[in-house]
Amino acid sequence: MSLRRALLTTRRILQQLRHDPRTIGLLLLVPSALVGLLAWSLTNDPGAFDSIGPRLLGVFPLVVMFLVTSVITLRERSVGTLERLFTLPLTKAEFVAGYAIAFGALAIVQSFLVSVLSYTWYGLAHQGVPWRISVVALCAGLLGTAFGLALSATAHSEFQAVQFMPAFILPQLLLCGLILPVSQLPSALRLLADVLPMTAAVHAIAPFQSNWYYVSQFAIMVGYILVALIVGATTLRRTTK
């Protein structure tokens, strides 16, 4: 794998987005706006935003990045540029890495923006370490990108890709501890919830846990990111039937 060709691909993707300021705006601002809306809606219940807000910092970037990545890579397939690239010396790993780096960079900006706004304007008084929340938001964005890449390899149209959202994201949203703490779920669902990436994002934000606990939650997220990227790279097919 050549890092040079991966970074060329990253630059090309960022150039594409630069010509589409509205998408960049949506990508960077929607998670921040949503968290702001949440903070505003909970104004009359002191302390509620402090407990719910951080958990959503791990959820919104995942959803936004998942959607954008799956649609943009699928478009690459339907327009024929992917097929053209496959006749050139660009490996599947370089292609996937190019996307992961481009959207990873966007996720960094996105997570920075949402955490800074939360701690300042939105008045978040969370009992945790701010940097940990930023890193969780970043991991969540990368998770969204990695799963978007993996699933768009199996979708046949942008329409299908968008429908992966409710099928893939919503069950995690129900089980990740946002509605009911994971410890109160029926035991079978608890086992499932404990290994889902979104649960790890929510857990990694929880205050007052042991270092080992945080390390294990980050390990789950990083593991999912790597596995999804590898799946994304291997399910891409140079030849089609």
Binding site: V79, G80, R84, T87
Partner: protein, 240 residues
Amino acid sequence: MEASSQSTFEVDDLRVERQGNEILRSISFRAAPGELIGLLGPSGSGKTTLMRSLLGVQALTSGSVKVLQSAVGSASLRGRIGYMAQGSAIYLDLTVEENLEYFAGVLRLAAMEVERVMAVVALTSFAGRLASSLSGGEQTRLSLAIALLGSPPALILDEPTVGLDPILRRDLWRTFEELARAGTTVLVSSHVLDEAAHCARLLLLRNGALLFDDSPAQLLAAAGATSYDVAFERLIEGVA
């Protein structure tokens, strides 16, 4: 054997099936450097599948395909076959220059090569324009420019002149003829039959089988016709 060892394309008994349907039936042909070959046939006759087979992006059912003396699909061929797909296969949200710079970068070519291919397809004055703002013909020329990057020894062009005005079509065919004279093997599919006259050699596909492989003059003679339209109809309908 001397001649075949220098072939650009060597296709032997190529078959492609898709969901039980035979898309290509026992295709065999060879093409030498400098040949300008027209690939003709009604829509659905297998032209695109044959071109994709030569590019290594089509799963083959059986048979052997060699390009530039290497088995098709081998990594060493990547970047040595210029390809222009039906539909432009360009990034609409990049400028002309950014499109070319990306593909040139993947091919490790110098910036001068971007300038050169823009000049060949007369897009130099459009360098900073977004591809989405180009007309259909300009997008086609950009797609061709990408295929020309690095002067590959083989060019595979799938309906490059579809939807273009006659002047532009004539100019593109001149470009193809010049490339062939310089030693490039150019395979061009088309359903505009008058364009057949530009090619020294024609391959005619019908229902996935190679019906005819000879010069345009021979096509007219074989069909007993004076126009390519009539000759084509007669051969396709099996009258001749």
